[in-house]
């Protein structure tokens, strides 16, 4: 466990659609890369080498800079056996840690239950984005889902302030627990009042926040700024979850993927700078993942769904470097004859962060003991 003045906090960033890891961390000296990717492949002279065989996509330069400072662990070949190429199924697997059976319990939900077994703080787990991802869904465990931090709350369509405040007061009274009603009625009371409590707390965050960092204007930057604002307001949130969409590049990958990488890595740089300016960067570790990588060969416009992908673990406490092995580029060792074969199970990577950063027993959360990596080695 870290010697940190505060409880460790985890920020999970999900790249939706299947990030093309092979075009993020590029095997720039392998002929097969250029042979396989005549259209989407980057040229050797464009990339930013990190060693003799691998290079950063130039659009990920902000993350490369953080890597050079030793704050980024690259997990090179992440996946699971018999990987599903369906986005929804694959995301379910990542969300529930159930690659065979179909699971209902989200792994972050289980983390929240471990951290706050009595459900005392409705903000222990907070997700930014539309709807609650299944990763946070767990019956009986409160998790807060925020679409827009500045307008978060109930009855947001009531515009004028005095009216809305009055409506919320009436709402609280309507939802006050009553003796002799049904169990479900009681549960509704509790949930409704929890929402009010959560939004009352969250309201404090924008007001308390000042920063010199100017985030860019895109969805992931907005989400990470929201994470920063809530974290810095010290509301007791231990797990933040957010998503960055659009990585499903079957077509037009060449213009689209670089833009996403620029947005993502720029937002991560700004986020950590923001925390550092507030003396809080050592309280947070970020895990960035995607549901799968993409096919090795391009399809003349983009890449189809693949299997093995990559992940990043980022933070002051992280010992930067390359972890697990880069999937083999030898065609004889491709999965399904066309995919990168994973070299570490994603549940081992969750486990790494849960055990070595959050100080939790990962076995019940990820449903088993999986090989971990050691990106927090020096701590």
């Amino acid at each position: 466990m870290a010697v940190s003045k505060k409880d460790p906090v985890l920020v999970v960033v999900e790249l939706k659609g299947g990030n093309d890891f092979m075009n993020t961390i590029i095997p720039y000296t392998a002929g097969i890369y250029y042979d396989s990717r005549p259209v989407v492949g980057l040229k050797a002279e464009e990339v930013l080498p990190l060693n003799d065989t691998l290079a950063w996509n130039p659009n990920a330069e902000p993350l490369k800079d953080m890597y050079d400072q030793g704050d980024v662990a690259i997990v090179q070949g992440i996946g699971y056996p018999d990987s599903s190429r369906s986005h929804f199924r694959a995301m379910d697997v990542w969300h529930t840690c159930e690659p065979i059976e179909i699971g209902n319990e989200g792994w972050v939900g289980r983390v929240i239950r471990e951290l706050d077994p009595k459900g005392e703080n409705v903000l222990t787990g907070v997700s930014f984005g539309k709807g609650l991802p299944r990763a946070l869904a767990l019956s009986g465990v409160p998790a807060t889902s925020v679409d827009n931090l500045d307008t978060y709350g109930l009855m947001t369509d009531i515009e004028a302030d005095p009216q809305r405040l009055q409506a919320l007061e009436i709402f609280k009274e309507m939802y006050s627990p009553t003796i002799g009603t049904s169990f479900v009625m009681d549960y509704l009371s509790q949930t409704g009042l929890d929402v009010i409590k959560g939004s009352d707390e969250l309201k404090k965050a924008p007001a308390m926040y000042t920063s010199e960092v100017e985030y860019e204007s895109n969805p992931i930057a907005k989400s990470l700024r929201d994470v920063a604002r809530v974290h810095l307001a010290d509301l007791g949130t231990r797990v933040f979850y957010t998503q960055h969409g659009g990585y499903d590049h079957h077509a037009n990958e060449v213009p689209a993927h670089p833009k996403l990488l620029r947005e993502l890595t720029g937002a991560i740089r700004d986020f950590f700078k923001d925390l550092r300016d507030h003396n809080a960067s050592d309280e947070v570790v970020m895990l960035v993942f995607s549901e799968f990588g993409r096919r090795i060969r391009d399809n003349a416009s983009g890449t189809d769904h693949g299997t093995g992908g990559g992940a990043f673990i980022i933070g002051d406490h992280v010992q930067g470097g390359l972890y697990a092995e880069y999937p083999s580029l030898d065609p004889a060792r491709w999965a399904n004859g066309e995919d990168l074969e994973h070299t570490i199970d994603f549940r081992g990577v969750y486990g790494t962060v849960l055990e070595q950063w959050m100080g939790l027993d990962p076995v019940p959360i990820v449903d088993g003991a999986f090989e971990q990596i050691a990106p927090f080695g020096s701590r």
């Binding site: 539309k130 109930l154 947001t156 369509d157 309507m174 939802y175 006050s176 479900v184 509704l188 949930t191």
Partner: protein, 462 residues
Amino acid sequence: MSKSDVALIAHLMRRAGFGATLTELDEYVKKGYENVVEDLVDIERCPPIDEDLLDRYFGGSEGGYRATWMYRMINSPRPLEEKMALFWHHVFATGIGKNQHILASALQIDMFRRVGLSNMREILLELSKDPAMIFWLDNNENRKGEPNENYGRELLELFSMGVGNYSEDDIKDCSRAFTGWTFAQPPPLYPQGYYPAHFVFIEEEHDDGEKTFLGQTGNLNGDDIIDIIVQQPACAGFISRHLYNFFVADEPQVPSWNVTPPQDPDAIETLSNAFLESDGNMRHVLKTLLNSDFFKAARFKKVKSPTELVTGIVKLVGTYQKPEPGMAKYPGATALMGQELLNPPTVEGWHTGKEWIDGGTLTERINFSVGELSDPSKPGIEQIISRLKADGSPLSPNEFVDKCLELAGPLEVGETTRESLVQFAASQGDLNIESDDAAEENNARVVRMLQLIVASREYQFA
């Protein structure tokens, strides 16, 4: 018409349909409860919806299909046809996430609409031949000598009888009986677009050997299996409990049914008997259900599914009575509330009742409902305002609250809710609704009252 007639018909329409506008309620009340049940169940008594118009407006995309279905729920002259399609979608939960083929998923729902009110034998037979289902549960990989038991198992466990009513050997031979039941692959999506897949029986892949299923031995094929299933009291009981859970009152989640007895065993027995005496005729079972005392007494005993909540709100505000752009936001809203149509999370279907509700989904439910009710010029709200006017003014806070509850449901609320609403009404005094000078202010008061009503705990129940 008495108030209790209105309340009962409104209950019927929330359960057997998707709610009713005030105008529709008046018509139904005039017809009388039993006649309305006949109209609902014997769908031929009412005309079908104009399909050409729907295609032109909503198109065939994934979002478009969801919008079309929701439009049908709101406007079909045959609401129970849509409600039964939704029922079977809950029970035979097939997710588009796996096939990513909107046409196959849409055609499955069309099939539920076509046979959903026929008999159980026909329903299970169509289900077993449905390409979306075959692919969802891998029956296309179920071949002689190398059976895939996914469909065979779920057919028994989740679609017809429930665990505890068959053995692992029954699953094996049931699966063998469905070998060779597959579909002809449609042309690839790119560049041809979506083509329907269709069922084929491949003789060479079918296992012709002897099988034993629930005590009956022979060279059984899939249809023989279904014949045996639908005669089982376990099938009658299982489907009856599903119908009870969907139409009457919330039961615990399906996986616990083999250990948790039904809350109303007599009701399940009544439905099971109706099932068995009619060879699984859904119309007979549904008429029995909808005319039963246990159904009539079950008002507000069920948490609305997101689909029921959203369609009910749209009926209440009276919009989208004709196809218009913008419909897609409604299936989008149900998805945020935890029910993405055509994409149930697992083959077990959505968890219902209390499990619809968590902090995120409750926020979505309330904010959606309040948002939809914010504009007094929507036809349904205009109608509520004009009914309030017709009652004369001034309305005391008590009268104002009670009339709004009546017009927005009628909704039965507990004392806590009612008192809170009255207190809110009283803070602005009597409502002089007839005064034209204060029309804008009055309309705003009505809107605010309705917004609080749909935000209440009680409104989350059907």
